[in-house]
């Protein structure tokens, strides 16, 4: 079973797009749409990396990232953040909170694939 990527995102079409791209390359993609319950999902089925949207219903991506980094079990997980609010302060906040990469929507599919590889290597 290939490496697992957890995508926390609430826009159905974006979920579908990213799932399609990464699955085609061999990653196993899990998705989760709700911010509030995202941490439970992270703990219950620990992925190899997380793609995290900022604007989520219930809880913001930043808060989830903070929790991920605060929990010893998950603190080393590579996290790539996605945001549609292309503002510098979001990028700064993501870096400060320990995101491994920050990506602004709309993204190029190739970029997503490159960065996932950069963070966790090949899917096998």
């Amino acid at each position: 079973m290939g490496k697992r990527v957890l995508l926390i995102e609430d826009e159905p079409n974006i979920i579908e797009a990213i799932s399609f791209i990464l699955s085609r390359d061999g990653w196993t993609v899990h998705t989760h749409e709700d911010g509030e319950t995202a941490m439970e999902k992270v703990r219950s089925t620990p992925p190899d990396m997380i793609i995290l949207d900022v604007m989520l219903p219930g809880r913001s991506g930043f808060d989830i990232l903070r929790d991920i980094r605060a929990d010893d079990a998950t603190s080393a997980l590579p996290v790539m953040m996605l945001t549609a609010r292309g503002q510098n302060k979001d990028r700064e906040q993501a870096e400060r909170l320990g995101a491994n990469h920050f990506m602004t929507k709309p993204f190029s599919n190739q970029d997503v694939r490159d960065h996932v590889r950069l963070l966790i290597g090949e899917p096998d």
Binding site: N13, A17, P106
Partner: protein, 900 residues
């Protein structure tokens, strides 16, 4: 001697006086009055007491009645030497109360009574009229003497004509002199100096004539004394009662005459001038009277039988061929007459304008009307007219009193009228119990008795009073005979009239004062006047002892402000030659400082402050009252300031609010941009991602179709979002064009329900069509847009098993409203307030497919249409109320269209 030359010399003399006055005024303006208002000029100005009556008339008086003329000089001498403290009191009161005339003094003392001011003014005018006539007469006679010496004997007509010209000339002269400028303190530096010059001219003229008579004609003092012994002058026996009466009369007149009050009190620049005048003025009077008897005696011996002794001063030199000396004597007499007339008419004109014209004028105007520039104009005009009128009265008296009466007799009648003021005046300044009623009663009584016993009879029989009235009394009431009041017959007419008028006047004054009760203002003024020395420190020069310059500076800084105070002190120090140090606390400096302070805090407060610093003096009651007065004014002022500062506070608050709003707006703008970014990027992300997938990879046909569908849907979403944004922007900027149409509410709802896609959903709609029969005149499409939005919201967000929307039109608060209430979960209370904000979708991002701008657009649309949309709290489901636009009448609609 040419009569024309005399005219020329007279005019030249007048021009000279005018120049002197002009120079003095300029000098006083430029560098302060200095010696121009010093004790000697003051003393000389008092010499207006010596009028033409004294100049010419004293000799005539002596020729007719021996030494009795001396009494005219004795009265003022006694006042100056023995009663100077009365004068000092008057001067002090005049200063502290800013008194402008004797009428003002009486009026002010008795509670600022207008009626008393009028009474005294009328009395003064009537009493002064004979005296002015006297001056006209003496000047006219002196002209006729010169005319006669030139060979033309004047008849009565010539005299009348000359008198008119003299009156007109004097009127012009006085108007030019006395009303050129309007001083707030009624002081006339120019006139005072001109009078002083005239005082010297008349003294020199009289002494010159006297010296000429004694040494030039009679041959030395011894010979003169011998001639006096032989003349009838020595044989007159002094009548005790008459002497006493005239001494009293002249003493009282010296205080009461309006013109004397003017020079003694109003024109007094310094109380200390009185000290010099108290010995110098009696000396002046002595010099004026020194040669009276010799001239009279020599005149009686040398001049032909029947020659008028009133004119000896002129006729003696002329008879001796000394035309130069005669000219000087003429100028002396002219000076005496003109100075008296000028000061007298100025004083009277001041009284007329201040106590009669201005009160009437102010009453005639609506209260509260502004009165700045015009008052000045009215005052000056009324004074000029008064001067002319008073001289006209003098001329009329001259015409109707006959010409036979001796100068001295007319003068005494005039004096007797003026002294009717005495009881109210003295009572006012010495007796706190004196009241307005008493003063008025006394004045009116004295005035009436004087008119009856002295003034009216002075015209002679059958002019004012018939011979029958003079002999038998009015209506045969013999006890009312003018010369034998209450049957007191056989007395000297002067003594009789004076005694009765003063007696009844004084009696009524006391009786009225005792029986009436003073008003508060009278009591207050009474205390101020009677206790003027105890209460006011005003006229006292500061000694400066006990005051330190530091204290002064600290106080000055507190009141004037740092820079101003320091500048003031530096200037003073530089003036004292100690630049860089604090100045010495000299009396002059303290006065200057007090004036500066008064400009800021008012005179009384400044005075009290200085008083405490310099002398540690207890603040007097008057000071306290004055301070309270000022405090009231300052309070008033500070109330205004407070109102202003409250206004500023409001403005500041409004500005703060605006600023907060702007900040909030700017934050909102950031949030809005961030939101727009998010809303735009999200569909773009899908579009880009799927289009890349379709481009790069082998995708199954199914997926291909599906992904193309997503791209299409997201593109539509993007378009809708941009449409909404543009729509909102247009609505918010008010650039929207409304298309007014008429329609029925029920039709609009039909359209909206159709457009909201309800038929595809299972949303049940409940309507009451009957209630929807409401005609509308508005932009129907926009209103439908709102309805669509609200209905679509219900379709999207009402997530119960059997969603239903009830649409209910009815009247509420006088307006037609349409309620849209669904049976869903409604909106949380905390969110109700923000659902109309942009991007306010609540926790259902993406689901509704909108950008969260719908309700914001609805709100803007309803605002443009003149209606409203609001959330109805308290219903089980989500509930919106659309308040329909006010029915617009056609013309208004046109205007609305035109304005947009």
């Amino acid at each position: 001697m040419s009569f024309n030359l005399l005219i020329v010399v007279s005019l030249a003399y007048v021009a000279f006086l005018f120049l002197v006055a002009f120079w003095a005024e300029r000098r006083a303006r430029r560098s302060g009055a200095g010696w121009l208002r010093g004790p000697f000029v003051y003393t000389l100005s008092l010499s207006i007491y010596c009028t033409a009556w004294t100049f010419y008339g004293a000799v005539g008086y002596a020729a007719r009645s021996g030494l009795e003329f001396v009494t005219i000089y004795l009265g003022p001498t006694l006042v100056m030497i023995g009663w100077w403290w009365v004068l000092r009191r008057l001067v002090r009161i005049g200063r502290t109360q800013r008194i402008t005339s004797v009428a003002d003094l009486i009026s002010s003392r008795f509670g600022k009574s207008t009626s008393l001011g009028v009474i005294v003014t009328l009395l003064a005018i009537v009493a002064a009229t004979p005296y002015i006539a006297l001056q006209l007469k003496s000047v006219t006679q002196s002209f006729s003497v010169f005319a006669a010496s030139g060979g033309s004997i004047w008849g009565q007509d010539d005299l009348n004509t000359a008198a008119i010209w003299v009156a007109i000339g004097l009127a012009i002269f006085t108007v030019l002199f006395g009303t050129r400028n309007l001083d707030s303190n009624e002081r006339h530096s120019g006139i005072v100096i001109a009078i002083a010059v005239e005082a010297i001219v008349k003294l020199v003229a009289l002494v010159a004539v006297g010296v000429f008579v004694v040494w030039g004609i009679a041959g030395g003092p011894a010979a003169v004394l011998a001639q006096i012994d032989q003349s009838p002058i020595s044989s007159f026996q002094p009548a005790g009662g008459r002497w006493a009466a005239i001494i009293f009369l002249s003493a009282a007149a010296f205080i009461c005459l309006p013109r004397m009050f003017q020079v003694l009190v109003v024109e007094n620049a310094d109380e200390r001038n009185l000290r010099t005048a108290s010995w110098a003025f009696p000396l002046y009077l002595m010099a004026m009277s020194l040669f009276v008897v010799p001239i009279a005696a020599v005149g009686l011996r040398l001049m032909p039988e029947g020659a008028n002794p009133d004119l000896f001063v002129l006729t003696l030199p002329l008879a001796q061929g000394e035309s130069g000396l005669a000219m000087l004597a003429f100028l002396g007499g002219f000076s005496s007459a003109t100075s008296m007339v000028i000061v007298s008419t100025i004083a009277l004109a001041t009284m007329v304008s201040n106590h009669i014209v201005v009160p009437i004028w102010l009453n005639a105007r609506t209260p509260g009307a502004t009165m700045s520039g015009d008052v000045r104009y009215v005052i000056v005009l009324s004074r000029r007219l008064s001067i002319a009128a008073i001289l006209a009265l003098g001329y009329l008296y001259f015409r109707f009193s006959g010409t036979g009466a001796a100068l001295a007799a007319i003068g005494l009648i005039s004096f007797s009228g003026a002294v009717q003021i005495l009881p109210a005046l003295l009572g006012g300044i010495f007796w706190r119990g004196a009241t307005r009623v008493g003063a008025a009663l006394g004045l009116i009584t004295g005035f009436a008795v004087w008119m009856w016993t002295m003034f009216l009879p002075s015209f002679g029989a059958d002019v004012a009073l018939s011979q029958a009235v003079l002999d038998q009394g009015p209506f045969g009431l013999s006890w009312l005979r003018p010369h034998a009041l209450f049957g007191l017959d056989g007395m000297d007419q002067l003594v009789h009239g004076l005694m009765w008028s003063m007696l009844l006047n004084t009696a009524m004054f006391f009786a009225g004062s005792i029986m009436s009760f003073p008003r508060p203002l009278e009591r207050f003024q009474g205390a101020q006047f009677v206790n003027v020395f105890e209460m006011s420190e005003g006229a006292k020069a500061w000694s400066g002892r006990g005051a330190s310059a530091e204290d002064m500076l600290i106080m000055a800084q507190r009141i004037l402000g740092g820079t101003e105070a320091q500048t003031l002190f530096q200037q003073e120090a530089a003036g004292q030659g100690k630049s860089g140090y604090l100045p010495d606390v000299s009396p002059d400096f303290i006065l200057r400082l007090e004036r500066e302070l008064a400009g800021s805090v008012g005179a009384a407060t400044a005075h009290a402050m200085i008083g405490q610093l310099t002398e540690g003096a207890a603040v007097s009651v008057e000071d306290l009252i004055a301070v309270a007065d000022e405090a009231a004014q300052i309070l008033e002022y500070s109330n205004q300031l407070e109102a202003k500062s409250a206004e500023q506070e409001r403005t500041a608050r409004a500005l703060r609010d605006a600023n907060e709003k702007l900040t909030a707006l700017s934050i909102q703008k950031d949030a809005f941009l961030s939101q727009i970014s998010h809303e735009l990027r999200t569909p773009m992300t899908s579009i880009r991602s799927f289009s890349e997938i379709l481009r790069d990879a082998n995708v199954s046909d199914d997926d291909h179709t599906r992904y193309a569908g997503i791209i299409h849907a997201e593109a539509l979403r993007l378009t809708r979002l941009l449409d909404d944004l543009l729509d909102l922007s247009v609505l918010e900027n008010g650039q929207v064009t409304l298309h007014l149409q008429s329609g029925q509410l029920t039709d609009l709802l039909d359209r909206a329900i159709g457009a909201a896609g309800v038929h595809n959903a299972n949303l049940g709609i409940a309507r009451d069509r009957a209630s929807e029969e409401i005609p509308l005149m508005t932009d129907l499409d926009r209103l439908v847009q709102v309805f669509v939005n609200v209905i679509a919201n219900a379709r999207k967000y009402c997530t119960v098993a059997q969603p239903a929307l009830r649409i209910h039109a009815h009247e509420y608060g006088g307006r037609q409203v349409v309620d849209f209430i669904d049976n869903g979960h409604g909106i949380d209370r905390e969110n109700q307030s923000m659902i109309f904000e942009k991007f306010a979708r609540i926790e259902d991002e993406g689901k509704a497919g909108g950008a969260g701008l719908g309700l914001a657009i609805c709100r803007e649309i309803m605002a443009r249409l003149g209606g409203e949309i609001s959330y109805l709290p308290g219903k089980s489901g989500a509930a919106f109320r659309v308040t329909l636009p006010e029915p617009v009448s056609k013309p208004d609609a046109q205007v609305l269209l035109a304005s947009q």
